[in-house]
């Protein structure tokens, strides 16, 4: 596709994060690129024409994940394929979401950092990051700051990332209980979400975490649903009515629109169904695992 590329643009390839953020400070017009699965599509569709690119693939610091005890720190350059293959035991929600991204080729190229930087409401990683209370690590020449995931998304494809800043990692708490991720699409694979839902259950703290994708201008949580009363003292009292109530509250938290992928009504309906199923599944799993 060289013929489709701009006639002329600068290409930077730093070898370290410090160099990368220095280059970003010097060249605020430079667009970071890792897998290119968002950016290069936009370039090919001539939706954007970067004057400069900052190639992140030379930054080994971004390309691995580390076990930090209660959390996992995932470098922003880790591709979805590795999250699915390597982190399913500790981050089952995120791993399940990563499995639904695009095709095998896209999952090998596309990175979690790119998903965050693009900040599309349809990005598959967002709901599980919201449900688990992740934190985004952002570097600049000013230093490193950590943004709670709930404060990261500001609007459609807008995030808390400022000019000159680079996402270096996302820190995700390890699963304290069962997690679920459900994604609705009009095809059985390789599809942008019509809507999606992530749920994390922590039986110790008796807390639920939620994340809603593709049903609002930004990825959303459903605080009212998280506050649903669960029968912890008598797990057998969990019933369909409770699951459905949870689903209704999730649907109520969504702010969907009609578009070519689906209608707002359908998105609300599907979220209610998915949320009810997710709650049933995590509840069942929690009590199968810990029969009390």
């Amino acid at each position: 596709m060289t013929a489709a590329a701009p006639a002329r643009f600068d290409f930077h390839r730093p070898a370290a994060v410090a160099e990368a953020v220095r280059l970003l400070a010097e060249h605020p017009e430079a667009v970071p690129v890792a897998g290119g699965t968002d950016l290069m599509v936009a370039v090919n569709y001539r939706l954007t024409r970067p004057e400069a690119m900052l190639d992140l693939t030379g930054l080994d610091e971004l390309r691995d994940w580390t076990d930090e005890g209660d959390t996992v720190r995932i470098g922003s350059g880790v591709p979805y394929a590795r999250i699915t293959a390597e982190l399913a035991a500790v981050l089952p929600g995120l791993a399940a979401a990563a499995r639904t991204v695009g095709s095998p080729q896209i999952r090998s190229r596309g990175t979690i950092g790119g998903n965050l930087a693009t900040a599309s409401p349809a990005g598959d990683a967002h709901p599980p990051l919201l449900a688990t209370g992740a934190s985004v690590e952002i570097a600049s020449t000013e230093g490193v700051r950590h943004v709670p995931i709930g404060e990261f998304y500001l609007g459609p494809k807008r995030s808390a990332l400022r000019p000159g800043e680079l996402i270096t990692a996302v820190t995700v708490p390890k699963a304290a209980g069962p997690q679920q991720f459900l994604k609705v699409g009009t095809r059985n694979a390789m599809v942008i979400a019509v809507c999606s839902f992530a749920l994390a259950l922590d039986p110790e703290t008796r807390r639920l975490g939620t994340g809603i994708g593709s049903a609002g201008p930004v990825p959303l949580t459903a605080p009212d649903a998280e506050a649903v009363e669960l029968p912890w003292s008598d797990p057998g009292r969990f019933d369909d009515a409770l699951a459905d109530e949870f689903g209704r509250r999730v649907a109520a938290a969504a702010r969907p629109i009609d578009d070519v992928r689906g209608t707002a009504d359908y998105r609300r309906h599907a979220l209610a169904v998915c949320a009810a199923r997710a709650l049933r599944r995590v509840w069942t799993a929690a009590h199968e695992r810990n029969p009390r």
Binding site: P6, N44, Y45, Q180, L182, V184, R277
Partner: protein
């Protein structure tokens, strides 16, 4: 696929361009003669002798100089070798430089001078097939290796020295007047070689497959979003695109007409075709089912984008194009360029899928104009978004059907009101309407019918040819109606179809009698021998030993609706089963002069061919991925008894092959190659190949058809009919409206299996395209604007959506057709859609009158 609707064939139907043998003048166009030996260049350049060296290299009856090179049809004993005394005593001249035509061997028809010029060097891009595989076998395709290892040259891979890139500026408006165009800012960019508008079109301003109504470049108004307005040539593609953005077009937007029914009311339509038989208004029915159906706009979605290169020559052009029909392209291109057709040579470029999308012109005239203006080769290549705007789609349809049946489920009458949206320009809408009307009730016997079919003119994207061609839309409606009748009468869906199945001697609603069926002698005999043979009942009966697959116990989520989306672990999943039957016409209908041309030359090969005879085949038939090249080699091996076959490039140096569409190339170009081989074989009986090559050209025609009567629709309009039956088994998550098709079982009558692997590929692919229409594929428009011109949002089935298939292939031969074959590429596309929707109805209990069925149709918003 275009079948002209007018009683008189359109001018382009009459027999091709100037250098095509005019069929009318030479009814059988048999130009056979002993061609001079080929020039000593090209791949065969080492073939310098056919004498003793060959004898040394070979033994056995068919090779070696001692044995004359004679035809040996399979199964026949070899001709007795001539004795040595009969052999020429003088050393033979080597097979070397060609003799002048005047001194060629005696001619049979006095046309040697005309023909012999064609026997020349084998071009470097000729395709040499592996030396095995006859009709009925599945040799490895000659294009397989290159396509698998990535070395096949698709049209988008072409490159020439000094080449410019072309780009098209398209209208953002579905309808607007063009007040002015200022190309100055674009021309001012360094590296821009030309910017052309309608004012620069050298010849006729319009082109079209049937009716020349589509502007080369918009001359003062645009009628659909994406209509070409100006073209640019520049040093790079990116520069051409940026230059196009700088062309200042002053549009005056107008209110677009986007409602096809309103357009028809207003008299804006390309064709109206009624069919009238019997008296449906007075016929008495015990049960009546009336429904309205809708079919969305499907796209062919070929993976290879439109692309080509125009290379200027002294006073003319060579166009490298990926098209379904070279000669039709040429006839449309030449008048617009103001050039004699003889000055334009078309060479087929590698085709990355077609499905009807490459019948209409795309880049052809534009790149030719830019090449003529700049004097340099010009390449054009659409990106995916432009491709969606730059080719026609399948006609969306709105259909109101009324079926009346007696208490036993026998059809009494059918009434149908069918509106197809042709969009802004004619393309093949006329012929699509003819198919929709003539096949409107499917393969069922009914005495009373009243059908009205229109092809509307709107400001929506132009629609034209796509696999199934007008038969797909009505098939969804009539099959849904058959199921509705079965429901009303509490009949099994197979049984109601069996009771109404057409049989030999029955008539379609057009009056055409069902003939040309010779039941497979290997098939079990009908217990009711008094009943005429029904090709449909025969297929339906085959399902009795094809049980519906059981529900597996432990399933991975990828086997469930929603797939890796993890939406169900079994929650809300219900199974459904449904049937669909499709009836498709094969070849061009309605009086069209449909023919194909093939030239076959047989000569002794060099050492690389072990000195054996080599058949060179030259046609203009497009290999669109269906495997037609391979079939040609199989036919040559079968008819000539040779092993080695070389396919010469498809181009306009040979007469027209017609289009690779309407499931017709096996029949038509297969028929032409077979006829040419037979002619060569006959000549070979009396001649030794060592004396020189033998060559024959044949034009093949199918039996004649008639136009449909414009008032009654009556007439034997179709050549051949083909049937396919699908049974779909689906799992539906009824709470989320997600569908997983878990099994598709297909019974199809192909007359004769020519290549099992290619045939299965056609059935799988056609079925998948029908699946796409059933549950996901639709170009969504809003006010004439396309909303999903990308593979992100125009979804086609993945391997996880398309189940493994079970096939039962039936061979009820057509005695009129070569080898008894029946066209096979399109019928599965018809029947898989209604089968899948019937299965979803079975699972959900919903009426489902629109395709594609979307998740919201099964849950929150039910359009029916």
């Amino acid at each position: 696929m275009p079948e002209p609707a007018t009683p008189t064939p359109p001018p382009w139907a009459a027999g091709g361009v100037g250098h095509t043998p005019a069929p009318a003048a030479r009814p059988d166009a048999a130009h056979e003669h002993a061609a001079p030996p080929a020039a000593d260049t090209g791949p065969r350049s080492s073939a310098t002798g056919a004498g003793p060296r060959n004898a040394a290299a070979h033994s056995g009856p068919r090779s070696g100089a001692d044995a004359p090179h004679r035809p040996q049809p399979p199964g026949e004993p070899a001709a007795a070798p001539r004795t040595g005394a009969e052999l020429p005593q003088e050393p033979r001249p080597p097979i070397g430089p060609p003799s002048p035509p005047a001194s060629a061997a005696p001619t049979l028809d006095g046309e040697a001078a005309y023909r012999t010029r064609t026997s020349a060097a084998v071009p470097a891009n000729a395709v040499t097939a592996r030396p095995d595989g006859t009709v009925g076998q599945s040799p490895i395709r000659p294009d397989a290796e290159a396509k698998v290892n990535g070395t096949f040259d698709y049209a988008s891979d072409l490159a020439f020295d000094g080449m410019l890139w072309g780009h098209t500026l398209r209208s953002p408006h579905p309808r607007a007047l063009i007040r002015s165009i200022d190309t100055g800012p674009a021309l001012a960019l360094p590296g821009v070689a030309a910017v052309l508008t309608a004012a620069d079109v050298p010849g006729k301003l319009h082109y079209g497959l049937i009716e020349a109504d589509q502007p080369v470049l918009a001359p003062g108004e645009v009628n659909y979003q994406g209509e070409p307005v100006a073209i640019v040539a520049a040093e790079t593609l990116d520069l051409a695109r940026r230059a196009a953005e700088r062309i200042a077009v002053d549009y005056e937007p107008l209110e677009p007409q986007c409602d096809p029914s309103e357009a028809v009311e207003a008299g804006a339509y390309f064709r109206y075709q009624p069919v009238r038989v019997g008296d449906p208004d007075t016929a008495e029915a015990a049960v009546v089912v009336t429904r309205e159906y809708e079919v969305g706009m499907q796209d062919q979605a070929p993976l290879g984008p439109e692309s080509g290169v125009a290379v200027p020559t002294g006073g003319g052009l060579v166009l490298h194009v990926a098209t379904q029909w070279l000669h039709s392209d040429l006839e449309q291109i030449a008048p617009c360029l103001g050039l004699e057709p003889e000055r334009i040579h078309l060479e087929m470029a590698g085709i990355g899928g077609a499905f009807g999308a490459r019948e209409d012109l795309s880049v052809q005239i534009h790149m030719a104009m830019l090449a003529l203006r700049t004097g340099r080769p010009v390449k054009m290549m659409y990106d995916r978004a432009e491709s969606f705007l730059g080719h026609v789609h399948r006609h969306p349809a709105r259909m109101r059907y009324e079926h009346g049946a007696d208490a036993d489920g026998h059809l009494v009458y059918v009434k149908a009101h069918i509106v197809l949206d042709g969009g802004a320009y004619a393309s093949t809408t006329e012929a699509v309407v003819g198919n929709a009307a003539s096949l409107a009730v499917g393969p069922y016997r009914v005495e009373h019918a009243s059908i009205d079919a229109w092809g509307a003119r709107t400001n929506n994207p132009p629609c034209g040819a796509m696999r199934g061609f007008g038969a797909v839309q009505t098939c969804f409606a009539y099959e849904s109606q058959m199921d509705a009748l079965a429901d009303a009468l509490d009949l099994d869906p197979l049984e109601i179809r069996r009771r109404n199945a057409i049989a030999r001697g029955d008539q379609l609603i057009t009056g055409q009698v069902i003939d040309a069926y010779e039941p497979d002698p290997a098939a079990p005999a009908d217990p009711d021998r008094a009943r005429p043979f029904s090709p449909l009942a025969d297929l339906l009966d085959r399902f009795t030993d094809l049980p519906v697959p059981p529900v597996p116990a432990d399933r991975d989520i990828v086997e469930l609706p929603g797939g890796t989306g993890n939406t169900t672990h079994g929650e809300g999943v219900r199974r459904g089963v449904g049937y669909g039957v499709g009836l498709k016409n094969i070849c061009y209908s309605e009086g069209f002069d449909d023919y194909s041309t093939a030239r076959v030359r047989l000569e002794l090969g060099g050492p690389e061919h072990d000195g054996e005879p080599v058949a060179y085949i030259h046609t203009a038939a497009a290999e669109v991925g269906q495997g037609h090249w391979n079939l040609q080699t199989q036919i040559a091996r079968t008819e000539l008894g040779v092993r080695h076959v070389v396919l010469l490039p498809n181009d306009t140096k040979i007469g027209s092959a017609g289009s690779s569409s309407a499931s017709r190339q096996s029949y038509m170009t297969g028929g032409a190659v077979k006829a040419a081989c037979e002619a060569v074989r006959d000549l070979w009986q009396d001649r030794d190949l060592a004396d020189g090559p033998i060559e024959a050209t044949r034009v093949f025609r199918h039996r004649a058809t008639k136009p449909m009567d414009p008032v009654t629709g009556q007439g034997d309009s179709h050549v051949q009919l083909a049937l396919c039956v699908h049974r779909a088994t689906v799992d539906v998550d009824v709470e989320l409206g997600l569908v997983k098709v878990v099994d598709l079982t297909c019974v199809q009558d192909v007359g004769k299996i020519l290549n099992p692997v290619a045939l299965e590929g056609q059935i799988h692919g056609g079925t998948a395209q029908g699946l796409g229409l059933a549950v996901m594929e639709e170009i969504v428009t809003d006010g004439g604007r396309v909303k999903n011109a990308s593979f992100t949002d125009y979804l086609i089935p993945t391997i996880l959506d398309m189940p493994p298939m079970r096939l039962r292939i039936v061979e009820n031969a057509d005695p009129e057709a070569p080898y008894g074959l029946r066209g096979a590429g399109e019928p599965p596309t018809l029947s898989s859609t209604p089968a899948i929707v019937a299965a979803i109805r079975d699972a959900t209990g919903l009426p489902l009158t629109r395709v594609p069925v979307r998740p919201e149709h099964l849950t929150v918003r039910r359009p029916s």
